[in-house]
Symmetry: none
Subunit: 197 residues, 4 copies
């Protein structure tokens, strides 16, 4: 009797990983509209039919890839999260971590940008993603309580401390902006000026 300890699962993981990377790569290269199942399969080095072993359909593949990235990003951004620091420092930390993640995974970031403007976006279980970002949210809430941060609608706050990151990271939008520590720090000053009381 032969016992496979993890080999089947390992095999799976390799293919699924290849599929994930192929999806991201292709969407970045040729766009959402042109990224067909068979092209993704070819890029991943597997048969199109095999995709349906791992995912219900194309949409499932696309959505799962998005969720996977978002979770990844949530985790990366909160690494070494230290609740005991001053609020400004916590936010600055996250600000830098986010830029760092995007810099190191620009393809992932680009993918989410494309995805979040597609209709698939409505299929995402947002709560599942948002929970990865709860810690920051709580910091903002605490800042409001402590009268350090302006007591305004939450969407307004995020529009000024997270959304500009997206703009600044988007090479297409910001062609003059060099993503170095100094510039990122300057930009944070503006973000903080915007939200601080």
């Amino acid at each position: 009797m032969i016992v496979y300890f993890r080999s089947m699962r390992t095999k799976n993981d390799i293919k699924q990983e290849a599929l994930f990377e192929a999806t991201v790569k292709l969407v970045n290269e040729i766009g959402f509209a042109s990224s067909s199942v068979s092209k993704i399969a070819k890029e991943a080095g597997i048969s199109p039919a095999t995709i349906y072993v791992y995912y219900k359909n194309k949409e499932d593949l696309l959505v799962s890839t998005y969720v996977e990235i978002k979770k990844n990003m949530g985790r990366a951004v909160h690494e070494d999260f230290d609740d005991s620091l001053p609020i400004r420092d916590i936010l600055k930390n996250i600000w830098f971590k986010t830029f760092d993640y995007i810099a190191r995974h620009s393809e992932y970031f680009q993918y989410t940008e494309q995805f979040s403007n597609s209709p698939h976006q409505s299929l995402v279980d947002k709560q599942e993603i948002e929970k990865y970002f709860d810690p920051v949210i709580n910091v903002l809430l605490r800042g409001i309580e402590q009268k350090i941060i302006k007591n305004v609608n939450f969407d307004i706050l995020t529009a000024f401390i997270f959304y500009p990151i997206i703009a600044l990271s988007n090479a297409r939008v910001c062609q003059d902006f060099e993503l170095n520590d100094e510039n990122i720090e300057i930009a944070f000053t503006l973000a903080w000026d915007a939200i601080k009381l």
Copy 2:
């Protein structure tokens, strides 16, 4: 004796207009990837073949529609532009005008959001669009000169006074944020705090 006020076999503004609206509507409803030429034609009430009378190909239709919207928006945003007002007031005016345009033409705005994350985006003649936004740019430059606005990279400034508008206008991103004058004014306070010296 019959008098034709509008010739029946002359390129038809009404049709081109219908095509424009159909394109925007469909892209908003089913997304870029699913908006096929034949669906757009059906929505516009014309034959798919007729599209090729007005546009070189699908991409041309999509790009032209985008450019049209952007120009429209540029014009609308600068209406009643008064260079003699204080810089803060000028920017506040534009801030409101932009929200107003987006509120009245949310489909147009959504279209540009989808478009600007598609690969077609690279085909746009950006200079042609940017010239519509030159006046605001000049105001910012003046603000820097007069030491009213922070002397930082231009991309950073726009990331804080224009990009948040996009976030706040995006119903998907901001579900709690109601787009009324009071909220828009509050948001502008943050924008101004971000960029002012």
Copy 3:
């Protein structure tokens, strides 16, 4: 009162001529299958709709062009036809004239080659064309009567004194064969040896 003597007809002729040349050129360049009405019209510098002023439909244009060439060729080949020469000389004359015509109008020749293998070919009034070639035919008949030429089926004779010209003129078929007088003369020797008694 203005009197036009021939201007209308002249105008016609210019367009029809342009159409003829455009058809031949395009068929040679991109083949029968790809030569569309609108491409031909564009090549001729007129509107596709105008073609239907001169021809019933596309097929009519194609067939007429073929017939026109064939008549032209028949005329050219029989120029300076001298019935009083010895039969061998008459045939040799025609042999050379044919090569000469093909050399000077290779596009016309290529067109007929493509056309004669298409199904349109069945629509041609062959009798109308054949009458242009009657003089040669009669020479062959006389040669048979005078026991100078083999008394065999007519198709066999033409297969040996006309068909090889087509082969030899076809650059695709004969890549080594240079079309100079000496070679043409040598080839005629073979043709004559084939049919002579």
Copy 4:
């Protein structure tokens, strides 16, 4: 218990064969220009999409079909090839075999005639086809060496011993010529007279 002798999801020779025959049949019936992929598929009893499982594109189907026929013909013509016979007999054998092949496969022959006047023709790997006809070529060369055959350009020789076959086999060109052994023999006499010294 059911036994499958031929797997049902394995690339299917029967289908490819049907595709080959359908292509030839349709091109003969309606011509190259009108033979669309979907018509061919319908004739073969398969889905148009399935064609692309077997061939890269339409051109590939057309070219492959041509090459297939040419190879077939090369093989058939050289069957029972006997190098030891007198040169005249060898050529006469091939002459008859060629007529025989064309008589039995007039559709194939017609297909090649149409194809060789189309622009696809340039895509054929000629060397691959020509190697099937090397034996005859060698016989001609030997005939020249032995001063039995005229020492003239090779293209001229083939224009007189192969090209007339095409003319004579072409029902359109030769309407009076009945393809019986006697007539074929007579025609060979002319061919031989043409090339012999």
